[in-house]
């Protein structure tokens, strides 16, 4: 136990005592923080599956409690920072609105654009697969474009495809295309020459080799791109709504709520966006685990 009472803890205790002299409210917050940290430091010492879940959960709950407490004891105005309880109440009260926004932005805008963009990227990668010339030309361009602020095309797409979800899907298509393309092209190169030679000795045609060897070998790379693209898709769909949208959608709601200074609604939308983003990523990761179970990175440690 001697490791626990380290100079850092003594310093923290002195700090908390000093804060109490300045303002009792600060020391209450500090005490809560240090208490949670102490518990975490204790649990983190042990090993096991439970502590892997428990420590981040305690950390997250401590942050929420600290936030709630800070808002209450300092009387922070709800137009600056609403308390978590107020946000939860807002979520519970406006579930139909949040659901409609989720359908509009995440399902219609992001998901349809994601499927189109990723499909187009995979097809393009297979098309340029036979031409090293095109690959040498397209890959640097693709890498370059992937680093550009592509969300900027949102106003153009809104102008072309109108205010509804089609323009959001178009932005998403462009945003996800290049990361997936670059990863897929790299993936198609991933099979070993020895394996390809083996396919050749079996007199496998180009398409047979592609379907039975190179496409499966490319899957880990492809899923890497697909996972990056999930976040990009949601970002693209939400930001595109800042440039014009029908009166439904997560980006629209955030923008409209700013005008009304109803920050609890914005936080509610952010909570939905976070949930949707994690679920989307989790879904792709789950499919990856089922499809590329043979890959070393997917084996149980």
């Amino acid at each position: 136990m001697s490791r626990v009472v380290s100079p850092g803890w003594i310093l923290a205790a002195v700090l908390a005592a000093g804060a109490a002299l300045v303002d009792v409210r600060v020391s209450a917050l500090l005490a809560l923080w240090l208490g949670a940290w102490f518990v975490n430091a204790q649990i983190a010492g042990g090993r096991g599956r439970l502590s892997r879940w428990l420590v981040p959960a305690i950390f997250g709950l401590a942050v929420l409690a600290l936030w709630e407490l800070a808002v209450r004891v300092f009387g922070i105005s709800p137009v600056i920072l609403p308390a978590p309880s107020a946000i939860a109440a807002r979520i519970a009260a406006s579930l139909p609105v949040l659901w409609a926004d989720f359908v509009q932005t995440a399902l219609k805008g992001a998901l349809s654009g994601y499927l189109l963009g990723c499909g187009a990227a995979v097809l393009t990668a297979i098309l340029i697969d036979r031409s090293p010339f095109l690959q040498r030309g397209l890959l640097p361009v693709g890498n370059f474009v992937a680093a550009l602020p592509i969300v900027g095309i949102a106003p153009i797409m809104v102008m072309w495809f109108g205010f509804d979800w089609q323009s959001k899907a178009a932005v998403v298509v462009v945003m996800v295309f290049f990361p997936v393309l670059v990863n897929m092209v790299a993936g198609l190169k991933a099979s070993e020459p020895m394996q390809r030679d083996l396919m050749a000795t079996w007199n496998a045609s180009y398409w047979q080799t592609l379907w039975k060897l190179r496409f499966p070998a490319a899957l880990p790379f492809l899923f890497n791109g697909l996972k990056i693209a999930t976040t990009l898709a949601l970002i693209g769909a939400i930001v595109a709504e800042f440039f014009g949208s029908p009166i439904v959608g997560m980006g629209f709601r955030i923008n409209a709520s700013i005008g009304q200074l109803s920050l609890d609604m914005i936080w509610a939308e952010i909570a939905v966006a976070a949930l949707a983003g994690s679920a989307f990523y989790g879904l792709v990761a789950f499919i990856e685990r089922r499809v590329t179970f043979w890959h070393p990175s997917q084996r149980r440690q």
């Binding site: 983190a44 981040p56 600056i80 030309g137 680093a147 602020p149 102008m159 923008n255 994690s278």
Partner: protein, 287 residues
């Protein structure tokens, strides 16, 4: 250098496609005008007209180039119509935010590597936060800061810092852990302190990872600064140019601002790439 020819071919193909698309997309307007005037349009006149419209659906590359040139060099750099002025507004917020985000990210990564409780508490959240569209909170930060009396550079930099923070944390944690057990054992036999291990082994070993995340981070920072300019109602910056262009249907202005943003992004990434190559080759770490 043998990839110059393929890249040029691809670029020329893109420009050619662009011209074709411009003729196709802008032709509706030309046909409407001709129908109203009661005249027929020949193909030559169609091409000529579609590539020189005032507010085309898709401006032709040379129109965008002209808009970009006018914006960059057509007027005094301090003019409100100058893209250099707007670009600098965005770039300064990007750079300030990027610097803050990088420093905080490295600091947190150092803490994570040295403290198991911190690692287990923060790391899952840092990774999970990468799947969240953080950019959605940008407008709120701007407005809340505004009501607190903070305007202009600082709120945008906070968004930029926030966006570049997590890639740096995740990359640096990986980098600081990259020295293998043999190297760590060697430093143990030298009786090196934790600070020595950090300064002489972990930090140098983490540099390749740091540069990789810096490139991701700076691109995210720029996007953050641009999106941060949207909710304040198009005052200054490249995001403001995009928004006012979309309000008034000035497509050439949108495209010019977009290309200016692309140039800034490419410049920043290439700058980091150059520093990376110089540093890594000097340290003998170059791949």
């Amino acid at each position: 250098m043998r990839s110059v020819l393929p890249i040029l071919t691809v670029l020329i193909a893109i420009v050619a496609l662009w011209y074709a698309a411009a003729v196709k997309l802008n032709s509706t307007w030309t046909y409407d005008q001709a129908a109203r005037a009661g005249t027929e349009v020949t193909f030559g006149a169609l091409v000529k007209d579609t590539l020189a419209q005032e507010r085309p659906v898709l401006p032709a590359p040379h129109q965008v180039a002209k808009g970009l040139w006018d914006g960059l060099f057509g007027q005094a750099f301090t003019s409100k119509r100058s893209l250099v002025y707007h670009g600098w507004v965005t770039l300064s917020a990007t750079l300030l935010g990027f610097a803050i985000g990088t420093v905080l990210g490295i600091a947190l990564a150092v803490g994570i590597v040295h403290n198991r409780a911190m690692d287990m508490s923060v790391m899952p959240w840092a990774i999970a936060s990468q799947t969240i569209p953080i950019l959605a909170i940008a407008p709120m930060i701007i407005v809340v800061m505004n009501s607190l009396g903070l305007q202009g550079l600082i709120p945008k930099s906070i968004i930029s810092a926030y966006l570049s923070f997590f890639p740096v944390v995740v990359g640096m944690v990986k980098g600081l852990r990259s020295p293998d057990a043999m190297q760590l054992d060697l430093l143990r036999t030298y009786n090196a302190s934790a600070a020595d291990v950090l300064l002489k082994l972990r930090l140098p070993a983490s540099l390749p990872y740091l540069f990789a995340s810096l490139k991701v981070g700076v691109a995210a920072s720029l996007v953050g600064a641009i999106v941060g300019e949207l909710p304040t109602g198009a005052v200054a910056g490249l995001g403001a140019r995009l928004l006012s262009g979309s309000y008034y249907g000035q497509t050439v202005q949108i495209w010019a601002a977009l290309f200016a943003a692309a140039i800034v992004a490419a410049g920043l990434v290439m700058l980091i790439g150059a520093v990376e190559r110089a540093t890594l080759s000097r340290m003998g770490l170059e791949r």
